[in-house]
């Protein structure tokens, strides 16, 4: 992606941008075909309506302006996914145990947490995942100050939040990092 914007020659830059748009259209068409296959089966892929929808999706991605690229680091994704699956399962187990316990062992409280994550996808993901971690629910975000509801005020929620924030930070390129180092350092 970064190579497309190297300002070496005006004509070449345009060609590079065209190539990246073509690649994006191709990826959109592939994603649309995959979705159609998943939803309707392989026989339905060859129907005229399916082909029309796939082509229209590709054309739409050519005509519409490109969104901001998602600054994901693919290498960190399996770790984040494993962490998420494990802790969301523990979250369900924890709340199920509390709900079924005759003594109803909950001590609800509110808690504030200041996050350092950049606004946009990383912070959205953080708030979404917080609601699925054991005992935490994201309530409100004011600037970088997150208000949480916790089921057990004695649990060490802060440590879990810090662990999650570090994992999410590793999974995204921080735009502030890129601005600082300009180019080259980021893989």
């Amino acid at each position: 992606m970064a190579r497309a914007s190297v300002p070496s020659h005006a004509g070449r830059r345009f060609a590079g941008r065209g190539r990246s748009r073509a690649r994006r259209a191709l990826a959109t068409a592939a994603a649309a075909a995959l979705l159609w296959w998943v939803l309707a089966g392989s026989a339905a892929l060859l129907e005229p309506l399916a082909l029309l929808a796939i082509i229209l999706a590709a054309v739409a991605s050519l005509l519409l302006p490109a969104g901001r690229p998602l600054p994901l680091r693919p290498g960190a994704l399996p770790g984040l996914l494993g962490f998420f699956l494990r802790s969301s399962f523990l979250g369900g187990l924890d709340v199920a145990r509390r709900a079924l316990d005759p003594r109803l062992p909950i001590q609800p409280d509110f808690l504030t947490y200041r996050t350092e994550l950049a606004h946009g996808p990383p912070l959205t993901l953080f708030m979404a995942v917080v609601s699925l971690l054991p005992g935490t629910l994201s309530v409100r975000l004011e600037g970088r100050l997150l208000t949480l509801h916790v089921l057990d005020r004695d649990a060490d929620t802060r440590a879990a939040l810090i662990a999650l924030e570090q994992r999410i930070r590793k999974a995204f390129h921080d735009p502030r990092d890129r601005r600082a180092s300009d180019d080259g350092a980021a893989p």
Binding site: L34, W37, V38, L39, G41, S42, S88, F89, G91, G92, L93, D94, V95, A96, R97, R98, A99, L100, L104, I106, P108, M127, A128, V129, S131, L132, P134, G135, L137, S138, V139, R140, T147, H149, L151
Partner: protein
């Protein structure tokens, strides 16, 4: 045979989580605590049911479809929980809770 047994076990386990989520919805004292029960328990319950159904899938397309359902419900559930919590924070508890 083994696939069928796994399906039954996983779906039964999933139903336990759904039941626990509903128990929490009824027993927990306020809106926020109830949201905990709904989002987290139902997420695991649905995950187990979907994992059980994957053993009955006719092909990779079916497995991907089940996975897509789980991911979409997960995203909708956590977003809805946050929105209900935020609305409750700014506009106060619902009358029926008092």
């Amino acid at each position: 045979m083994i696939a069928n047994a796994l399906t039954v076990i996983l779906i039964l386990a999933g139903l336990v989580f759904f039941a626990a989520g509903t128990a929490g919805l009824l027993r927990f004292p306020d809106v926020y605590s109830r949201l905990h029960a709904l989002t987290k328990a139902d997420n695991v319950g649905l995950g187990l049911v979907i994992l059980g159904l994957m053993f009955q899938a006719g092909g990779p397309a079916d497995i991907l479809k089940l996975l897509l359902i789980w991911v979409l419900v997960l995203a909708a559930g956590t977003t809805a929980a946050h929105m209900v919590a935020q609305r409750t924070w700014t506009h106060g508890e619902f009358e029926s809770d008092r």
